[in-house]
Symmetry: C2
Subunit: 360 residues, 2 copies
DNA sequence: TACGTTAGGGTAACCGGTTACCTCGTAGAG
DNA sequence: CTCTACGAGGTAACCGGTTACCCTAACGTA
């Protein structure tokens, strides 16, 4: 039997050190310690030094719960997205977290799966209340749910335009972007364009807007979209994109281009074209939406719409931080900030040079 | 001039409602209210009903900072990863968040960029102290930093084996996985295998382990790896993978296979092969590591090593929650849980059937 | 009838920062 | 040399749940 050490040699004490302990050690009051840690200007250098010494000697670390309780703020914000594994939201979260860090905020990520019930729950959950505000990218909410968005805390909505009501939101140019992509395909001489991806009719998501932009562009060219060329996919993933593309082809629809409502759908579709031996863009041109990194490196690389993701993230965080500072709840009426999209032409539609073949 | 309503019709009061308010309204004490919200068993149904009614009438919501202060726990954990935009970490985070939610925890995501200084900072930052524990996937830390990991809070390390010291960690089979991938390439008759991706010699990351597994497999077949076939890429992204591959080819190295130290490197490399007109796997077979979703849909699909990501995430969260419950700090000595990797053969190395060509 | 036991619920101290308000000391003005 | 003003820092109330400790009522048993 070997001896069991009762007290392991820890570098920080197991019993938490409080401001009072520091104050006692430094021979000052808690107010002074607070002044020092919060960098309040009117503190004598000598006093400050004594306090800092005491802090490091005792290994003092501030208790954030106590600070939050007293301040009424936590220094955290919630980011609610459908799924982090979807590249668009991963990249968005990356940027939101980075910008929030710049502004001194920590981000709590919540995943809704794009499911309406869970989205509604995020708005009212107790968890949300741990943070000072919410950046919310809804997918399953319906226009009828608009009133649920009139919450009593700072809220910024992302990516949608339809749900606005009177809530602050940062929107992307879904209609314009989709229209640009469709026009680009039409310019390349494509006429039998399939759409991969669908949406809940009752919803107010990007799907309806992108589809509208697409349809309008076709209509402007006197073309009516053949519904047989629509590959249904409510969930926007590579897998569902591939399934949708497969269904369109198996239906015998004649297709010379594909517009994916987002990039992963387009990539899934492209994979099926590859499996069927159809050349991209030789036989079928493909375009997507989102400009995720994968599309820059796919073979062929994917023509897409860059929705201004970085801009959206930055704007949303700054707006939210501003709302928090002003103590403005969501119900108070909202600004709409629209970020302009940009078409990025790559190999999957013939490349910038317009040649019909992917480079060998 | 139209009248300005002083009080907008909000559904929840601007002035927070406390437990005391609820208690007064329900005609009970705060203890009883607390008993009800915490589902303490010994409460009369009638009393419970009265309290619940008061809660909903007043729109009471609990103050988490207060609860955390008094409980000494926050119900949050920190997850520190290099970058969320890297698919592996996006998928890992997705799973960690989901599993943590099952266990009643909320996740605060911190990005280190894989930079040593920021990784060290995460370990000691005030921010970290807002949470009950840390799941940490380090990249830039060196063996010499091992002592920094002996912190006084629950900590679970991810993905590495070299740094263990006495800290709990969930490791993946880096060496075995890489060895399996290399053996697979050798079995397919490839002998001139390039490696894409490199690592800081002073580091203790996955890079050295995967490289070791690879080199060992070659050695077992009596082959020595030609350093001219190594494409340096300290940062593991598609872009750096492409650059590394380009350098290897421009160096005039003769290559019939590529092993990417992770999938994005491999995909970046595959993109360059595509640009050069080299067929995969006809001319060059490609294998990666991580089994990110992109590789299942790339053209051709990517042979890879599935490191057991879901298992790792689940194990890490359960372990951490357990440590929190037992109040066990990181310095107390650590278990190592190793998750076994699995080789997944796809088209980029000739597919499961072993044919040398990608399917048309 | 007396007494022990337990369920239900009240009271108040406590968690650890923040800050309104107050005091003291000193430098500059008159 | 006194008065004012301001800078430095102390005191204690407060933020809103939690919970140790206590009391009461009701039930069962001898």
């Amino acid at each position: 039997m070997r001896p069991v050490p009762i007290e392991t040699s820890r570098r920080w004490p197991a019993v938490p050190v409080t401001m009072r302990d520091v104050a006692r050690r430094a021979g000052v009051s808690v107010k002074t310690v607070s002044n020092v840690v919060n960098e309040f200007p009117h503190v004598t250098p000598a006093t400050r030094a004594r306090v800092l010494a005491a802090i490091s000697e005792l290994g003092y670390r501030m208790n954030f719960s106590a600070r939050s309780l007293s301040l009424g703020r936590t220094g955290m914000i919630t980011l609610a997205v459908p799924e982090l594994r979807l590249p668009y939201f991963a990249e968005l979260s990356d940027e939101v977290i980075a910008v929030a860090a710049e502004r001194g905020y920590t981000v709590l990520v919540e995943q809704t799966g794009g499911v309406r019930e869970r989205e509604l729950e995020v708005l009212t959950s107790d968890r949300r209340r741990m943070t000072d505000g919410l950046i919310f990218s809804p997918l399953g909410l319906r226009p009828a749910d608009a009133r649920s968005l009139e919450v009593d805390y700072p809220l910024v909505l992302l990516g949608e335009r339809a749900l606005h009501g009177s809530v602050h939101h940062v929107a992307m140019g879904n209609v314009e972007g989709a229209r640009a992509a469709a026009e680009h395909l039409l310019e390349r001489g494509r006429r039998r364009i399939a759409v991969v991806g669908s949406y809940d009719e009752r919803g107010a998501g990007a799907g309806s807007l992108r589809t509208r932009g697409f349809t309008e562009a076709l209509a402007d060219s006197g073309i009516e979209h053949d519904p047989r060329r629509t590959g249904e996919a409510l969930e926007w993933t590579r897998t569902t994109g591939a399934q949708a593309m497969r269904r369109v082809l198996e239906r015998g629809a004649d297709v010379d281009a594909v517009f994916g409502l987002n990039d992963v759908l387009a990539l899934g579709a492209m994979r099926v074209l590859f499996e069927r031996g159809l050349r991209v863009p030789g036989d079928v041109a493909v375009a997507g939406f989102d400009d995720i990194e994968d599309g820059r490196f796919s073979c062929p690389s994917l023509t897409t719409v860059q929705p201004g993701r970085a801009q959206i993230a930055r704007t949303a965080v700054w707006l939210l931080v501003d709302l928090i500072a002003r103590g403005e709840p969501a119900g108070a009426g909202g600004r709409e900030l629209v970020v302009a999209p940009e078409l990025i032409v790559r190999e999957s539609t013939g490349g910038p040079d317009g040649s019909g073949d992917a480079p060998k």
